[in-house]
Symmetry: C2
Subunit: 305 residues, 2 copies
Amino acid sequence: MHNFSSGPAILPKTVMQQAAAACIDLDDSGLSILEISHRSKAFTAVMEETEALLRELIGISDHHAVLFLSGGASSQFFMAPMNLLPANATACYIDTGVWSAKAIKEAQLFGNVEVLASSKAANYTYIPKQVEIPSDATYLHLTSNNTIYGTQYRSFPMTNVPIVCDMSSDILSYPIDIEQFGLIYAGAQKNMGPAGMTLVIVRKDLLGKTERAIPSMLDYRLHIANGSLYNTGPVFPIYVTMLTLRWLKGQGGVTEMQQRNQVKADLIYQEIDANPLFECPNATEDRSVMNAVFVAKNAAHEKPF
Amino acid sequence: MHNFSSGPAILPKTVMQQAAAACIDLDDSGLSILEISHRSKAFTAVMEETEALLRELIGISDHHAVLFLSGGASSQFFMAPMNLLPANATACYIDTGVWSAKAIKEAQLFGNVEVLASSKAANYTYIPKQVEIPSDATYLHLTSNNTIYGTQYRSFPMTNVPIVCDMSSDILSYPIDIEQFGLIYAGAQKNMGPAGMTLVIVRKDLLGKTERAIPSMLDYRLHIANGSLYNTGPVFPIYVTMLTLRWLKGQGGVTEMQQRNQVKADLIYQEIDANPLFECPNATEDRSVMNAVFVAKNAAHEKPF
């Protein structure tokens, strides 16, 4: 079965089978993962293993906290500036598609927002490069992979400004240097598990500087202090994420994923480039390894296709 | 298996079996519920059936919108005042336990909060009654059932002020008159499904009056306009909630649940009252039908028990 729809993506078959089994009985506990207490020993072990696997696979040091929050990446569009950006400071954004644009809109509620570059006028067919980043910016926000437009950062800007990055659609698909990032967020449903959980990796020393009154559930510091267990969290998505991470580690980790994805992408782009009817509209060096986009050369062929 | 832990509660066995099956293949779609698009026909049908069942079982008219939001009831502690309470207006709260107290704390970030009554000094062993409610209050906030203390509103105050009610632990366990309520919210994990989704039932004419800039994901109006599908929602908890609601309807609905719970509660309280070692500390008329609390008459017996 191939799923070309928007939103959630395909998970490994073994993960789905284990998730189904846990709906009936989690590891012979006699309880379903759907009804187990988030404060039980069994679930505490799930949380610890999930965090440990993420730290190992991505290479996350103690400078960064790892949080499993309810909801999707869209909530981080406002939680990131709410937690990081003082009202009189400036956050820089690069606009590479609809997700960046939504993030920019939400940030404007909290402080000054400077859009350093945008490829909107070219229908988002490239990633702006050689962008000058003001050294006094609180952070630089990027969307690493643009699902709708099929473009992707193949390397991140070199800057001392902490990067805040929406990695929802390409996290765990290539190695990163975590020290470049102030904050990484990613909805679970593309590369980790079912919808309903967002992974947040945040550099702890960047927090607590806004002097803003933040509701408890929106305050990263409160979730860090409570190990993501301030309230009942997204138990089932966290469990499935653990299963996916175990699978990913067994396959060889993010370097192996990067190689496999590159092989798949090369095959698809070769076919698109050779095909007389279709073309990829995007700059060659910015083509996404995660999702290849193609359009009919003759626009009249789009609808029938 | 009996689950006495905090947090999520037991679901009907048939619901768990159907949820497990859907992890492998949702209704012969060839896709798992964990990977299906939230914009697919199959999932749109799930959303529509879940809302229709809730409207039928609770008796919800067109005055109220029904939303399925990510996260737990704790997020509604701040979202309710953020969406309903203008900065210069007053919301009234009755403090009946730790959940009420948390709701009060979050509301104070948004407007004037008047705590009309509290049973805290009596260790929350009763529900304050005959409370005078100022007629110009924007809303009156109640926690209908207090899980930790074992008290429950057995009837709601008669007032023209819209009631905002946290029904996380007793929704769908008795009939209500929806017209009394401006807003009802309930985390799914007690009476409906797995953790990660909160049901919000809100009177539409109360919205849009705060003149506050609200982040998109926190604005009830945006979710109403998008039928809870502005972003990828908590797909799996919504699906399991639908299964539970089908089961609940098949059992006879909320009136039947009320009768069954009363029979169970009567048995437990009879035993507690007759037992020479234990007692229920709560006012007889406020004892929760959902969760009976008992303590040792001799405090020295608590630890060994």
